[in-house]
Amino acid sequence: MSKGDRSTVISERRQVETEIPRNWFIAKLDDLVVNWARRNSLWPMPFGTACCAIEMMAAAASKYDQARFGMERMGYTPRQADVLIVAGRVSYKMAPVMRRIWDQMPQPKWCISMGACASTGGVFDTYTLMQGIDTVVPVDVYVPGCPPRPEGLLYGLLMIQEKIKGESVKDRRPREEDPERVGKPHLSPEEIELIAQPFGNSTFQNRVSGLESSSPILRPGDRKE
C-alpha cells in the first residue's frame, strides 16, 4: 500500500469514529465514566535510571504508599501500563530504548518526567546526556527537583489525574498515533536545537573560561576538531 492510500483509510476511519457519540448526553456520560475509571486505576511503568528512581521507590514503599491514589500496581511491562515515569538521567545510548518502551505502551498513555535531569538534562550539560526527554517522547507532567521528594512525584501523578478529568472521549486528537513516527524523535531538529541550547549557569561558566563557544552549532563540521 502506498502512503496516499493509508492516509485516506485513516481519514475515513476518523469520520466513522467521530460519528459514534451522536447524542450529547451520552457523550458526557461516557466521559464521566471513562475518565473516572482511567483516573483511578493508573498503572505506572517505572522507567528508573538514576538517583530519582530511589525516590520513586520511596514513593511506593511504606511511608508514602502511592497505592492510596489508585496506583496499586507498578507494571514492569510497558504493554500493561498507562503512565511512563521517567526518573533519572537518560543518555543518548538509552534514548532509543526509552522511545521503544513508549511506543510499546497502548493508548491511552501519559508520561511524567521526574527530576531535573529527565526534564532538561539538569546539571549535566555533557556530550552523552539527552537535554530533556521531551525531545524524544511527549511529556505531560514535569516534576521539578533534584531529586523531587516522593510527595512531589505523588503531586505529579495527581496532576495527571486532573488532566484526565479534562479529556473527552469525543476528542480523539490526544490519543492519535502516527505509525510513521514510531521510533522517531518527538521534536524537529530545529526545536531540539532550541530547547537543548546551553543556558543558565553552564553557559556563563564556559564563556568565562573561554573553553568553547556557547552558540548553537548546527552541523557536525562547525565545531573544532
Partner: protein, 587 residues
C-alpha cells in the same frame, strides 16, 4: 610531583625493579602523598607489571586509567597496584606519544584489567594489544565523535544536539544489539550441533535489560543458555553514562562535590567525604578533630543506608517482600537525619574541602543516638526473617561461589572480596579519619557464595553500629572547619568587619580554591568496596583530571566469572548479591 632521590627510591622493591629492568624504568617520582610513581617504557610495560605481581607481591590491581595533559604532551596510562602481602601501593605509568597510542594489555596478568582497559580505550583511544574483547564500553559502539576524555574533545560533544539526537534515534536497534551479541555468538557459531543424542540443539541467547526490574538499574545482561545453564554471560553497561569525569574538569574543586553524590546515590555522603579527603591530601591539610568524628558518623550511617537497600532489594529479587518494608522504614529514619543536617534527603553534598558544609545542628547527635539504640532491633528482626529461612538458604548457599585468590584476580572488592575470605578493608589497611583508633572487626566469609555476602553485610552493619557508638561518645567540641583562609570561607562577621576577611572571601568566591600542582590516588572504604579518587591538579582552580574508581564497576565486571555454569534463576540472585549501583558504574 617531586622528582628523584627521596624515600621512595629507598624501597627495596623499587631498587630491585630498577636493577632488573635498567633503562626500561625511566624515572621514579613521588606524588603529593609521598607514594612512588614509576615511569616505564611502554614496550616493556607488560613484562614489568608481570614481574611486579610475581616477584614483588603486587597482587591487587586497583585501577587502570588514562591521563591527558593536553597539547602535544604524551598521554599517560596509569596502573595503580597494591600488595596485600606488604600493604604497599605503587603507581606505574606508561607515557605514549599522541600519534602512537598502543600498549600491551595486562589481561593475562590480572583479569580485573579487562574492563578497565576497555574504558581507557573508550575514553582516550589507547589501543591495548592482546586484549580479548577490545570494544567500546560506555559509549555506544557506533559512536563517531571521538574519545571524550581527551582534552581536545568539547564538553558537549562535537556534534550539535539535534545531530546527536538524530544519530541516537536512527540506530537500528537490532543492528546494535547483534553487534553486541557477536561476541556471544562467536562461540556457539554453528546453527545447531548434535550432542550425541541424535537431536540437534542450539544454545539460546537471552537478553535481560537494559530496562528490567531485577538488574538494579539500567544494566543489560546477554546470556547464552544451554537449557537453563548459563554458558556465557556478557554484561553491557554505559546506558547511564553521564560524563562525570569530563564535567569535573570544567568545575572548580568545590563544585565537584554536588556531582559526587549523584554517582553513588545509595551512600552519597561516603562519596562526598572520600572526594574531600582526596583534595585535602593534595593540599596537605588535615581537618579538625571534630570534623573527623562527624565524618566518621556520617560515613557509617551511609554504610548502613546502603546495606539496608541492598538487603531489601535482594530479598525482593529472591522472593521475600517483607524485608524491603522493614529496611525502607529504617532508611527513612536515616533520610530524616540527612534532611536535618543538610536539607536534602539523598543528594547531600555534605562535605567541603577542609571541613563540612556546616556544623551539625543542635540535637542532631541525639537523633543519631536514638537511631543507634533502636536500629539493632530491626536488624535482628530482618535477620530472623532471612538467616534461618530455608528458602533463602536454598537460593543463596553455594551459589555464585568464588575463592579468595580468584576474587583478587578478577577484581572483586569490598564485602564481596571479604565474603571470599580476604580480609582487605581500607579502614584497617590504610586508615583514614583515625579509623585505627576505633575498635571494630572486619567480618570475612568462608565460602564466597551469595549467602556469605549476605552474612558479611549484616555483620558490617553491626560493626558500623559499634563504630557509631564509639564515635558518639567522643565527639569533641571545637570548630568543624579548618582555619585556613585559602580553603574555607571566613565567617560572615569577619567578611563584613575586616578587610582581610573580605579579601579572602572575594578570592575564594571569584577564583575558587587553588590546589597546588600534583597528583594523588586516595581511597576510602565505601559500602561497596574500595572507592578510589585519582586527582590531578595543575595549580589552577579546576582539576586536570578527576578519576573515580568505583567499586561497583569492578564488581560487575567480575559477574561473568561468578555466574557461568550456574542456572539462569541464580543469575538474578548473584547479580543482586554483588551490590551494584549503576550511577557509579557508568559515571
Amino acid at each position: 610531583m617531586k622528582p628523584g632521590p627521596n624515600g621512595a627510591a629507598e624501597r627495596p622493591d623499587l631498587r630491585q625493579l630498577h636493577a632488573k629492568f635498567g633503562d626500561a624504568v625511566r624515572s621514579l617520582e613521588q606524588d603529593a602523598a609521598g607514594e612512588p610513581v614509576v615511569f616505564v617504557a611502554p614496550e616493556r610495560n607488560v613484562e614489568i607489571l608481570a614481574y611486579l605481581r610475581d616477584s614483588q607481591g603486587y597482587d591487587l590491581l586497583k585501577d587502570v586509567t588514562g591521563l591527558d595533559l593536553g597539547g602535544d604532551r604524551p598521554l599517560q596510562v596509569v596502573y595503580q597496584l597494591w600488595s596485600t602481602r606488604d600493604s604497599n601501593s605503587l603507581r606505574v605509568k606508561a607515557e605514549l606519544p599522541p600519534d602512537h597510542l598502543k600498549l600491551g594489555s595486562a589481561f593475562d596478568i590480572w583479569r580485573a584489567s579487562n574492563w578497565l582497559e576497555r574504558e581507557v580505550y573508550d575514553m582516550f583511544g589507547v589501543v591495548f594489544e592482546g586484549h580479548p574483547d577490545h570494544r567500546r564500553i560506555l559509549m555506544p559502539e557506533n559512536y563517531e565523535e571521538g574519545y571524550p576524555l581527551r582534552k581536545d574533545f568539547p564538553l558537549r560533544g562535537r556534534f550539535s544536539r539535534a545531530e546527536q539526537t538524530r544519530l541516537a534515534m536512527s540506530q537500528e536497534m537490532e543492528d546494535i544489539y547483534s553487534l553486541d551479541e557477536l561476541v556471544v555468538r562467536g562461540r556457539s557459531g554453528a546453527p545447531g550441533e548434535d550432542r550425541g543424542d541424535g537431536i540437534e540443539t542450539q544454545n539460546m541467547i537471552l537478553n535481560i535489560g537494559p530496562q528490567h526490574p531485577a538488574t538494579h538499574g539500567v544494566l543489560r545482561l546477554v546470556c547464552e543458555l544451554d537449557g537453563e545453564t548459563i554458558v556465557k554471560c556478557t554484561p553491557h553497561i554505559g546506558y547511564l553514562h553521564t560524563g562525570f569525569e569530563k564535567l569535573c574538569e570544567y568545575r572548580t574543586w568545590n563544585q565537584v562535590i554536588p556531582l559526587t553524590d549523584r554517582m553513588d546515590y545509595l551512600a552519597p555522603i561516603l562519596y562526598n567525604i572520600g572526594y574531600a579527603l582526596g583534595v585535602e591530601e593534595l593540599l596537605g591539610i588535615e581537618v579538625t578533630p571534630r570534623c573527623k568524628v562527624i565524618r566518621v558518623i556520617c560515613s557509617e550511617l551511609n554504610r548502613i543506608l546502603s546495606h539496608l537497600i541492598w538487603v531489601g532489594t535482594t530479598a525482593i529479587d529472591i522472593g521475600a517482600f517483607t524485608p524491603f518494608l522493614y529496611t525502607f522504614q529504617e532508611r527513612e529514619r536515616i533520610y530524616n537525619l540527612h534532611e536535618a543536617y543538610v536539607g536534602a534527603r539523598m543528594t547531600t553534598s555534605a562535605s567541603r574541602v577542609g571541613g563540612m558544609m556546616a556544623d551539625v545542628p543542635p540535637g542532631w547527635l541525639d537523633g543519631v543516638r536514638d537511631f543507634v539504640e533502636t536500629f539493632p532491633n530491626t536488624l535482628d528482626e530482618t535477620e530472623r526473617l532471612l538467616t534461618q529461612n530455608s528458602i533463602w538458604i536454598g537460593r543463596t548457599q553455594g551459589v555464585g561461589t568464588i575463592d579468595g585468590k580468584g576474587a583478587i584476580d578478577v577484581g572483586l572488592c569490598g564485602p564481596n572480596l571479604r565474603a571470599s575470605g580476604v580480609a582487605y578493608d581500607v579502614r584497617k589497611d590504610k586508615p583514614y579519619l583515625d579509623y585505627e583508633t576505633y575498635d571494630f572487626d572486619v567480618p570475612i566469609g568462608e565460602y564466597g557464595d551469595v549467602y556469605d555476602r549476605y552474612l558479611v553485610r549484616m555483620e558490617e552493619m553491626r560493626q558500623s553500629v559499634r563504630i557509631l557508638e564509639q564515635a558518639l561518645a567522643r565527639v569533641p567540641d571545637g570548630p568543624i572547619n579548618v582555619d585556613d583562609p585559602r580553603v574555607i570561607l571566613p565567617p560572615k562577621s569577619e567578611v563584613m568587619n575586616s578587610i582581610d576577611g573580605m579579601i579572602s572571601h572575594f578570592k575564594l568566591v571569584m577564583e575558587g580554591l587553588k590546589v597546588p600542582a600534583g597528583e594523588v590516588w586516595s581511597s576510602i572504604e565505601s559500602s561497596k568496596g574500595e572507592l578510589g579518587f585519582y586527582l590531578v591538579a595543575d595549580g589552577g582552580p579546576k582539576p586536570v583530571r578527576c578519576r573515580f574508581r568505583g567499586p561497583s564497576f569492578m564488581n560487575i565486571s567480575a559477574l561473568p566469572y561468578l555466574v557461568e555454569g550456574e542456572l539462569i534463576a541464580d543469575l538474578i540472585a548473584v547479580n543482586a548479591s554483588v551490590d551494584i549501583v549503576l550511577g557509579e558504574i557508568d559515571r
